[in-house]
Structures are given as C-alpha cells and as structure tokens.
Symmetry: C2
C-alpha cells in the first residue's frame, strides 16, 4: 500500500511539475515577445502607426469528452502586433482514452489506453520578411509508460546563414549539455520530419525534433526538455532583434506569403498533431492557431 | 476478331470524344472568362489601372511513369486578372496502372489495374468579395468498366440568396433534362462532400457532385456530363456580371480571405483529388492550382 501510494504521489507530482513548467515557460515567452513589440522603432514602427504594440490575449477552452470526469483543456495566448503579425502560444493539459486504432501506435497504450498529456506549442508569423517564422513545442505524455517530446525549427522567408548557424548552435548547446548523441539524432529527425514531400523541399532550415524520449531518468529528461524551452527563449528574441528594424520591399513580402503557403501545406497535409487533433475532435481554433494570418499561392 | 476490333475502335473513339469535349469546354470557358476581363469598367477597373485585363497562360506537363509507354499529361491554363484574381483551368488525359492498395477502391480495377482518365478541373478565386468563387470538374474514367464523374459548387464569401437559387436552378435544369432523380441525389452528395468536418460547416452553398455514373447508356452519360459543363459556362459568367462592378470595403475583403482559408483547409485535408494526386506523385503545380492567391486565418 505504501509503495503504491508513493508511486501515485510521485506520478502526480511529476505531472504537476511538468504542467507548471509549461505554464511558466509560456509566461516568460509571452513577456519576452511583448518586450519586442515595445522595442520596435523607426520606419517599421511608423508604417504601423495605427497598430499599437501587441499584447497577448488569452482564451481558455475545455476539452469535450463525456467518457472522462476531468477531460482537461487549455489556454490559447494570441497576439497580433507590429513585430509579430500573428503569434499563438498554446498550453494544454488533457486526459482521456486513446481510440482503439490510435492506441496501437502509442507506446504503453495497447494494454491501458488511458493517457495524460501536457505541453506547450508555439508558432510565430512575423510581419517583417527578414525575421524568420518559428515553431516550438515541448510536451510530456503519460500512458502506462511516459516520455517527453518536442523541438523547435526555424522558417525564414529567405535563409540567412548567420541565423541558421546561431539557431542550430543554441539547440545544439541545449542538447550537448545532456547527451552528445542528442543533437545529431534530433537534427536529423527534424530534417526528416519538416520536409514537404510533394514539393521535394524542406519547410525551413530545420532545428531539432524528438519524441518518445525516455532515457530511464525522468529528472534528466525533464531537465533536457526545460533546456530546449530556455534555449528557444534565449535565441529567438536575439534573431528577431537582429532583423526587425530593417526595411523590406513588396517583393520580399510576396515571397514571404508564398513561403507561408508552403507552411500551410505542411501543417494541413503532414503535421501529426494537426491531423490527429482535427480527426479526434480537438479544438480546431487551438489546433489551427498555427496557420498564418495571410498566405499566398502564385 | 472483327468483334474485338469493333469494340476496340468504339472504346478508342469514346475516349477521343470525351477528351475532345473537355478541351472544347476549356476553350469556351477561357474565352468567356477573358471576355469578362474586358468588360470590367468603372471604379473597380480604375483601382487596377496598372493591371491589364487578364489573359490565360498555358503550361503543358507530362506525367512521369516509367511503367507506361504513353503516361499522358495535361495543360494548365492560368489567369491573374482584374476580375479573376486567380483562375486555373486544367485539362488532362493520363493512363497507367493503379497501385495495388488503391485499385481495391476503384470499380473494375481489382482484376485489371490499368486505367485511362481524362477530365477538366477549374477553380476561380475572384478579386471582388461580392463575386462568388467557384469550382467545376468533370471527368471520364475507363478501367475494365467506365464511368463519368464531376460537379460544380459555389463558394461565396457571403451568401447571396439569388445567386444560390440561380446556380442551383442551372444545375438542376442540366440534371432534370436527363433524369429527375439526378438533382436531389447529386445535390445531397455535394452537401455531404463539400463539408469541412472539423469546423462543422459547409465549404460553400453547394451545387452538385456525382461519381461512378454508369447508367448503362454511355451516350446518355456523356451527354449529361457535357450538359453540366454547358450549364456552368452559362450560369457562372451571369453571376460574375451581376456583381463585378460593385464596390467593396476592406472588411469585405478580410472576410473573403478568411473564407478562402476555409477553402484551403478543405482542399488540403479532405479533397480526394488533391490528397490522391499528391500522394501518388502527381504534378503538385497542377494539383495545387486550386489554392487561392491569398488566404487568411484570424
């Protein structure tokens, strides 16, 4: 009895710590992004004189699931600003039972299909075509087993070699502090995952992607996942500041809109979370918050 | 021998007649749409003074298939104009072998997976939010059996009751001339097919959708398919003329962009042709010509 109670307490405590971390990271990211909104000055601020510096708006949603007493839900934070044309930061904590078909694909779910999942998911589409769009997501899933997953990838309209180098260096540093094998594996996974097959081209310049991370040391895996979030929080505002005051042309903007079209194609055709969420009755507003405010196809 | 030769000649002749019809319809539609470009005058023409009346540009593509001697191909006709912000009219005639998995889903393909397919496919995204977007497609497929399929549906930014009524009346007239059961069946099929499940909303105001049409009278089925094309060619320019000179506001335009976002969601998540084409190595430029020049998500 004592053993079971301890195990239960430990499991509950870990869930709470993971959930708290995603919330804390959300708060820090939103604060950092609002500071960037305040920092914009010069020509790019003047041409948006009618648009005040952006502030996040929050909307809470509850998951609908008659089979579960506490199905959970999430909070969407969304900002339409001067630097961030549209940025969404979702946190959610949900629990339920996987459908029979889906359970087969999930570690530990075939015997017991109940799951608990908590995570943060972020997509930023920027006004300036010189500032890269970005995606970051980390999550913790608990079935009969448990694991962490996530990653971050950079999606510039036109590649800037220094940005690519610095973004990858930040992700590599977060990885290397935990396991020298992580970065090569997780970079290759991102290259493989963020690929638009029918176009034969990468979605962006990559980053890292990992899933089913369960090294046997929960504390180490959680610490790594926190470090991925912190690395993102450090490097992305640096890249935004580097470019956000540069002027751009109508041709730059048009190219950015076409690249966003590719982003839409990836998200609706290939993104696992998007397709799974929509097909299992998730909240479409939250799932599709990743879609750009404006996108084009020539 | 004579019988086989006659059957062969008849099959060849029918393919040629279907293919010729789709090409003829394409030519008539392109000519009608270019006339609409020339007719635009007044305020809506003035604000596009830098954009000349649109003209279709054609691009031919060949299907890649090492297993087939004549894999076929198609011709994309695309126009970016003053009335038509982007309109694509594809005709294609292809032949090959269905993959094993796909053959199971196709009438007559399980025994013999060879197919021949010819068709026309059209999507128009209009500059004016008052002019409805539209889709029309008709096709003839030959396996061990053969059939016709197609339809047309109207996608206004905001519904105009007279447009909905007149568009449906045109489709109904085409149907009723052949079989009084066609319109109710094919209208219901369109309502079911052009539905964005995850949003719980229709893509547009419907029209007709039919597939696997093989009444046993090839001539009658071909005549019906021609009449669907002619009905479209008659009613759609009527609706365009009805609205193309009206002024619109920025709010109208914004709403149109969001409705186009829904159109993108449908095409990438649900459209059979799009998903099948992309997953079987079709020409992505031709398949995705249906995507709007600009679309938004709030």
């Amino acid at each position: 009895m004592t053993d079971t109670a301890d195990t239960h307490d430990l499991a509950t405590e870990r869930k709470q710590r993971a959930e708290s971390w995603f919330r804390e990271l959300r708060d820090d990211i939103c604060a950092a992004f609002e500071r960037l909104e305040d920092e914009l000055s010069g020509e790019n601020a003047e041409r948006l004189a009618d648009t005040p510096p952006g502030r996040f708006e929050r909307r809470t949603w509850r998951r609908q699931d008659p089979e579960v007493e506490e199905p959970g839900g999430g909070t969407m934070s969304i900002m339409h600003g001067r630097v961030f044309e549209k940025v969404g930061v979702n946190i959610s904590t949900v629990q339920g039972r996987f459908s029979e078909g889906f359970a087969k694909e999930i570690p530990g779910a075939e015997a017991d299909p109940t799951f608990w999942a908590s995570g943060i998911s972020l997509v930023a589409h920027m006004r300036s075509p010189h500032v890269p769009a970005v995606h970051m997501n980390t999550r913790h899933i608990v079935t009969a087993t448990s694991w962490f997953g996530g990653g971050s990838d950079l999606n510039p309209s036109r590649e800037d070699e220094a940005d690519t180098r610095d973004f990858h260096a930040a992700m590599q540093a977060a990885c290397d502090a935990h396991d020298p094998g992580y970065y090569p594996r997780f970079k290759a996974w991102a290259d493989d995952y963020f690929f638009i097959k029918h176009r034969g081209e990468a979605r962006g310049v990559g980053g890292i992607f990992y899933d089913y991370l369960d090294s046997g040391d929960w504390e180490a895996d959680f610490a790594f996942t926190r470090d991925v979030g912190k690395a993102f929080l450090d490097i992305y505002p640096t890249l935004v500041r580097r470019h956000m005051h540069k002027p751009w042309t109508e041709a730059d903007r048009q190219h950015q809109l076409f690249r966003r079209g590719r982003y839409v194609e990836f998200n609706l055709l290939y993104d696992r979370g998007t397709r799974f969420g929509l097909q299992t009755g998730g909240n479409p507003e939250a799932i599709l918050m990743s879609l750009p405010p404006l996108a084009g196809w020539p």
